[in-house]
């Protein structure tokens, strides 16, 4: 299959249009990205990191692209009803790939100097600053999807937290997918957290229309010395949605990153997370929770690179697979030569509830330093019979007992979230999800 051809042709015919509706900084790398994409093509399943998700068939259909930046009418508040009670957030919207500036939170919510806004506009205002970070860790030479995104992305989100500023209130960003035709979206996010700064981000994906959406997303996050970034991603879309998200994080000395991806509803999801430690004493927690049934497909692919000594990484991914769902987890911890005193733990636990559900797991360690403590564990299995029996003995029905155990299983990941109201909300959502009461995003009338 030659799915990449339509994108190469598209670039050839629409190059000028792409350029005219974007910022110079983003245009500067476009041709390079195009060359990298043309050279690599879309990855086949023979490419190790794409072994479990067939990109060729995902990118084969003919999607529309909004290259001309037409205004798509939408009222995001109408779509967004999955509010988190008791969680006071600064709420922003991204409509497809563009920052929605018609519904900004009222002033005074963000500390001075913090910028949350359109990447394109910010790049026009501060080209030198953006150029320092844009498309630097998301290398187009190494990943064709990143190359495709860099070549087509015209706008996105820019988040900047200046030195020493702590943003107390969590920032919630709703990615709204809205279109009357099948649509491909190329979204770009750039996060810069300077020395000693702190921010908590919650990204939610939400589909407003019952259309096929194909989203490529590239997030680049730079976390400077002593800074802290919490990045929670919650996906609640529908079966026709395909999401390919590449997250790149670079951590400097003594920084801390919490990255949590929760997939409750989706069609095909592929999350790639690449994290690099550049400074000593940094710590990261990557976690993910997947609850999938029907024909959902969720593939999490992570790479943690320990380039310097004294860093700690923890990874925990849990899957509950029902129906004909397919889950894949491939995690790789790479400890470079000289990265002594590294401590790394990777865990992947999976529950298969039906015969048709499939789980692929691949926890990998690659170690070139001797004074390290690295461990990984991976299991695929079922609920503990003894625990089920214990509960039934005490008058709890089998169905209820199963729910309780599955719920407890998934909660280990959710408990790692450092926003209490969000944690409560997720507990609630996950429980409803297991009960089958949450067959779509709550309160949403549009998607089926």
């Amino acid at each position: 299959m030659q799915s990449e051809k339509q994108y190469i042709d598209l670039y050839g015919s629409c190059r000028d249009m792409l350029f005219s509706h974007s910022a110079d900084v983003m245009n500067a790398v476009r041709d390079g990205a195009f060359a990298d994409f043309s050279r690599q093509g879309l990855p086949t399943r023979k490419v190790e990191r794409y072994k479990y998700t067939d990109m060729q068939s995902l990118f084969a259909p003919d999607y529309g692209l909004n290259i001309n930046r037409l205004d798509i009418p939408a009222n995001p508040y109408e779509a967004f009803k999955c509010d988190v009670p008791n969680l006071s957030t600064s709420l922003y919207f991204i409509l497809n790939d563009g920052f929605y500036d018609k519904a900004l939170p009222k002033g005074g919510l963000l500390p001075d100097g913090v910028i949350i806004g359109s990447l394109c506009k910010e790049a026009a205002k501060n080209p030198d600053f953006i150029a320092k970070y844009y498309s630097k860790i998301a290398k187009t030479t190494e990943d064709p999807i990143t190359a495709l995104n860099t070549m087509l992305a015209q706008d996105g989100l820019f988040i900047y937290v200046p030195r020493g500023v702590k943003v107390d209130r969590a920032v919630q960003v709703i990615n709204i997918l809205r279109s009357d035709v099948d649509l491909m979206i190329n979204r770009r996010v750039l996060i810069v957290v300077e020395e000693g700064a702190e921010i908590k981000l919650l990204f939610c994906d939400h589909a407003m229309d019952d259309r096929r959406f194909l989203t490529t997303q590239v997030i680049e996050a730079y976390v400077a010395d002593n800074a802290s970034l919490d990045l929670y991603c919650l996906e609640e879309t529908h079966a026709k949605n395909t999401r390919v998200s590449n997250v790149y994080i670079e951590q400097q000395a003594n920084s801390r990153v919490n990255h949590n991806i929760i997939t409750l509803h989706n069609g095909v999801t592929r999350n790639r997370t690449d994290l690099i430690f550049r400074g000593e004493g940094a710590e990261c927690n990557l976690s993910g929770c997947v609850i999938a049934d029907k024909e959902q497909h969720v593939d999490n692919n992570t790479l943690i690179e320990h380039r310097v000594p004294h860093c700690t990484s923890n990874e925990l991914y849990k899957y509950v697979l029902d129906g004909k769902a397919v889950g894949a987890f491939a995690g790789r911890v790479l400890v470079h030569h000289g990265a002594q005193q590294t401590s790394s733990v990777m865990n992947n636990r999976n529950l298969c509830a039906t015969k048709e559900a499939r789980m692929y797991t691949q926890p990998m360690l690659e170690i070139y330093a001797d004074d390290v403590k690295c461990a990984h564990g991976s299991t695929v299995g079922q609920l503990n019979d003894a625990a089920l029996f214990y509960m039934r003995q005490r008058g709890i029905s089998l169905k209820e007992a199963r729910l309780l155990l599955q719920f407890a299983f998934a909660n280990e990941v959710i408990d790692g979230i450092r926003l209490e109201p969000l944690r409560d909300r997720l507990h609630y959502l996950v429980e409803k999800r297991f009960r089958g009461e949450l067959s779509r995003c709550e309160g949403c009338k549009l998607c089926k």
């Binding site: 015969k355 499939r358 789980m359 691949q362 360690l365 690659e366 170690i367 070139y368 001797d370 299991t379």
Partner: protein, 504 residues
């Protein structure tokens, strides 16, 4: 200033003494150790008939003709060769496999040729006899006390198979595969290529085209093989490749334990070794396969050494069948080896125990595949990697439970030990689970030798080098315990020799 005194153990082949050296002498001492380390590096001066270098259809035909093979065998080889020509050398393993010039290798070397030409009764050249004596391989029945039947293979030809007659009394066939093709064509035809088809991979195709000798074992129904069977492989001739093929068939209710050992002389250039081992295990039968692999690993600068590219697979075809792979890998410049089990029969059980030691510039990518297809199947994987010097040691394994494999159970544990800051230890486990009743667990740890343990030994007067040997042997104990007695001793010795000079 206090003078530094270093105590170091002397390698086992020079006797167990403790030597005192000044630190300035230490490099000299380490150099000596490194040089002495590979004790099987000698060559045998024996007349060997070697065919011209190069690989083409004529060479395949020539090998087949030299072995006086029937037509069907030649067809098999040619099919494999034609398929091989369409393939490219794989590059996915975590090793730096050099570009091998397949035309620069001779594919057949026969150290027995002279005797045959003389038309005298077939007897073994005393030089050859000496070689195997030196290697400690009992070729004479006078060594019957050892209780091991041996098939000794030098270069491309089986030199001698001992205890053949005694085994025949029980109906056991133990001979070289060349003899088996002549004498038991039906059996060979039925099983050869049935576990590892020639289309399996690049090296399997190459082996199927040019394999020269190897062992064939058939254990009839209900027979428990009374002694350990063993084959010993030796590469002697220069610029030749060894392509042996082993086929073991254990019929219903039978049992056999099979050992395999290998060595090669020290040479500057890489030698190619691409073997295939196929095992068929039928109802209620059990096979134990143990390997102590000690091919020449190259010198301390990574020059020379054997490229060990092996396909080993067992198929548990019968119900309640059992197969156990145990391997101690200390040699070879590059190891590319994944002894696998296909658990077809219901209630079948498979085990894989491995210790892989790499030192200097050695690279090993080894592990196993457990394919669960039958119901209630069980597999265990215990892998211990030890890397030192500048070596790279990888575990690569696959556990697959198909949708029919109800109640499949797997436990994998892979530990790596790092000695030195320039080596690498890697784990690449794959798990594909297509069944909701399967339970699969994998765990792995990587660490270095604990300072506490070393200090404890030092305190009690055990020098660091010996202490490392002690700790490593303890670490590998789970696997060494699974080896038959004779091998366990050899393996322990090998472990300590392989790691000489890594600490200090």
């Amino acid at each position: 200033m206090a003078r530094m005194i270093i105590y170091s153990g002397i390698p086992s082949n020079s006797g167990k003494k403790v030597m005192e050296t000044k630190s300035s002498d230490k490099n000299e001492f380490v150099r000596q150790v490194a040089e002495q380390k590979y004790e099987f590096g000698f060559t045998t001066d024996v007349h060997t008939e070697i065919i011209d270098k190069g690989l083409n259809e004529d060479v395949v035909r020539l090998i087949s003709a030299k072995k006086q093979e029937p037509e069907w065998m030649l067809d098999f080889r040619l099919k494999a060769f034609r398929y091989w020509q369409t393939l490219e050398q794989p590059s996915w393993a975590h090793v730096t496999l050099p570009e091998i010039d397949y035309q620069a290798i001779s594919y057949y070397a026969d150290p027995m040729a002279k005797k045959k030409d003389d038309g005298k009764p077939k007897e073994i050249d005393p030089e050859l006899m000496k070689t195997f004596d030196k290697l400690g391989i009992p070729l004479e029945e006078r060594l019957a006390l050892s209780g091991v039947a041996v098939d000794a293979i030098m270069d491309s030809v089986s030199v001698k198979t001992t205890f053949k007659e005694k085994l025949a009394e029980k109906g056991i066939i133990f001979c070289s595969i060349g003899d088996a093709i002549q004498q038991h064509p039906d059996l060979v035809k039925e099983y050869l290529g049935s576990v590892v088809p020639y289309r399996d991979n690049f090296f399997a195709a190459l082996n199927s085209a040019v394999f020269s000798d190897g062992s064939f074992v058939y254990i009839p129904k209900g027979v428990r093989c009374p002694m350990e069977l063993s084959s010993y492989f030796r590469i002697n001739a220069r610029n030749t490749g060894q392509f042996e093929r082993t086929l073991i068939v254990a019929d219903d209710d039978s049992y056999v334990s099979y050992l395999e050992g290998c060595t090669a002389p020290m040479r500057d250039e890489n030698q190619l070794h691409a073997a295939i081992v196929e095992i068929v295990v039928k109802d209620n039968a059990e096979v134990k396969y143990s390997t102590v692999q000690n091919w020449y690993p190259g010198d301390e600068n990574g020059k020379g050494g054997v490229l060990n590219l092996v396909t080993k697979r067992g198929e548990l075809r019968g119900v309640n069948s059992k197969l156990s792979w145990t391997q101690v890998e200390t040699g070879s410049a590059i190891t590319w080896k994944y002894p696998s089990c296909v658990l077809r029969g219901d209630n079948s059980q498979a085990e894989f125990y491995s210790v892989a030691v790499t030192n200097n510039w050695q690279e090993a990518d080894t592990g196993t595949k457990m394919i669960h297809m039958g119901k209630n199947t069980k597999s265990t994987i215990i892998s211990k990697g030890i890397s030192a010097g500048h070596s790279q040691n990888s575990y690569r394994g696959l556990v697959r439970a198909t949708s029919n494999a109800d109640n499949a159970r797997n436990y994998s544990s892979c530990d790596s030990l790092l000695l030195g800051s320039d080596c690498g230890a890697h784990t690449f486990p794959y798990m594909d689970i297509h069944n909701d009743t399967a339970v699969v667990e994998h765990e792995a740890t990587t660490s270095k030798i604990s300072e506490d343990q070393l200090f404890y030994c030092n305190q009690r007067g055990i020098p660091t080098e010996q202490a490392v040997g002690l700790i490593v042997n303890g670490y590998a104990k789970d696997v060494l315990n699974k080896l038959p007695m004779e091998f366990a001793v050899e393996a322990q010795k090998l472990l300590s020799v392989s790691l000489e000079g890594t600490v200090g």
